[in-house]
């Protein structure tokens, strides 16, 4: 399952981060294969990127502190469920999932059945899992 939190539409006090990355500038016609995308991600560990099904690279805007705080509460609740019921693995937003349509996406939080996670090879787990 996947969870996505919409960012707040208004920020009265936008948090300022001194180490914020400048926005990534991508040529409009750029199209990458999943393999090329993985190489780009490996060279830009701090960038939050997704790959659309048509090969477009989508740079995700970093969330504000408010959204980040809510996400951490959400992850805590999911983790509590996963630990008490067993059979689930929780992923946060820095994990990329390779979807059947060729896109690579990062929901804010995801629950994956343990047996599906375990069915992946160590190599698949290290890279962007299926």
């Amino acid at each position: 399952m996947t969870l996505t939190t919409s960012p707040a539409t208004t920020h009265t006090a936008a948090p300022v981060s001194l180490d914020a990355l400048p926005p990534l500038r991508l040529p409009p016609g750029l199209r990458l294969t999943p393999e090329q995308f993985e190489l780009v991600c490996a060279e830009n560990r701090d960038a939050v990127l997704e790959l659309a099904a048509d090969g477009r690279v989508i740079a995700i805007t970093p969330t504000g502190s408010e959204t980040s705080g809510r996400n951490s509460d959400l992850l805590f609740q999911l983790q509590t469920f996963a630990k008490s019921s067993g059979g689930w693995k929780v992923f946060e937003s820095s994990g990329g999932f390779r979807l059947p349509d060729g896109s690579i996406v990062s929901p804010d939080a995801s629950l994956v059945r343990l047996e599906r996670w375990q069915a992946l090879s160590p190599e698949q787990r290290r890279s962007l899992g299926a």
Partner: protein, 66 residues
């Protein structure tokens, strides 16, 4: 929001068993089932998952307050 809904639709089309889109501004949730239309829920404190996720629920009030 439309970009987020497109994302939720893509998760659904790619086999996600359940998707939740949390909208803190409205304190609302859109529930995206494995197939079919999404459903918007408002003014609930506890969000329960489908039976496939036995025991899974979210304390929404806690998340909105976080």
């Amino acid at each position: 929001m439309s970009a987020l809904r497109q994302k939720m639709a893509a998760y659904q089309a790619n086999g996600a068993r359940l998707g939740w889109l949390l909208i803190p501004h409205d304190q609302a949730v859109e529930v995206w089932p494995a197939s079919g239309a999404s459903q918007r829920l408002e003014q609930i404190d506890v969000l329960k998952a489908t039976p496939e996720f036995a025991g899974l629920q979210l304390q929404l009030a806690e998340i909105w307050a976080a």
